[in-house]
């Protein structure tokens, strides 16, 4: 019973990404959308925590929201995959439930 976790606020604004990282379990997926995409930046304050989590769960970032903020795919921390809205739908369908960390 794995879960897709969505985070939509910048980790510099709210603690939702940190809380999410504290709660995910093996086999879950995390998708960063809206302002949360800034947390995926290579060399950023959350890059290490995110790459550490990749041992147990997969991490994704919503590409259109990344592009809207002028962040290029090559500026994203290693191992984080880009998905579009169709990929978001596939992730939601592929896990047993979706948990939005609002």
């Amino acid at each position: 019973m794995s879960t897709l976790h969505t985070v939509n606020k910048s980790p510099f604004e709210r603690p939702s990404l940190k809380t999410c990282l504290d709660h995910v379990v093996q086999g879950d997926a995390i998708l960063l959308i809206e302002d949360a995409v800034v947390g995926a930046r290579k060399g950023g304050a959350f890059a290490e925590a995110l790459s550490h989590k990749q041992a147990s769960c997969s991490i994704y970032v919503l590409a259109p929201d990344l592009a809207a903020r002028g962040i290029k795919a090559e500026d994203i921390a290693e191992g984080i995959a880009l998905v579009d809205y169709g990929g978001f739908v596939d992730l939601a369908a592929g896990k047993a439930r979706v948990c939005a960390w609002l």
Binding site: T6, N8, I33, E34, D35, P64, D65, D84, Y85, G86, F88, V89, D90, A92, A93, R97, V98, A100, L102
Partner: protein, 130 residues
Amino acid sequence: MRFGIVVTEGPYTHQASDSAYRFTKAALEKGHEIFRVFFYNDGVNNATRFAVPPQDDRNLQVLWSELAEKHKLDLVVCIAAAPRRGILDADEAKRQGKDGNNIAPGFLISGLGQLIEAGIQSDRLVMFGD
């Protein structure tokens, strides 16, 4: 697969309504079913037909109405959240003694039970908010 969508933020606030709209559209394009889109708290502000954004901006209320018409979507607005924010349909306007209503085409004012039902009937409930 059957999806239920919850929107708890108004349009043009941050991005929740845009995200919910684009997710809903992508799910429909992939052949999934949308059981219901439930607008709760400030999300009810998506349901006014009187919104007039600048011409070069997207009109989210119209986009939702058009999507609802095209795909026969059930767009439900919470009755506890809507009247206090000035979102009224004809029945509510009459009941509250107001001189008009502003609900957009495709939206229906109903109770929180509709959200519970969406949670039970949908395979996945996806929430967008602030």
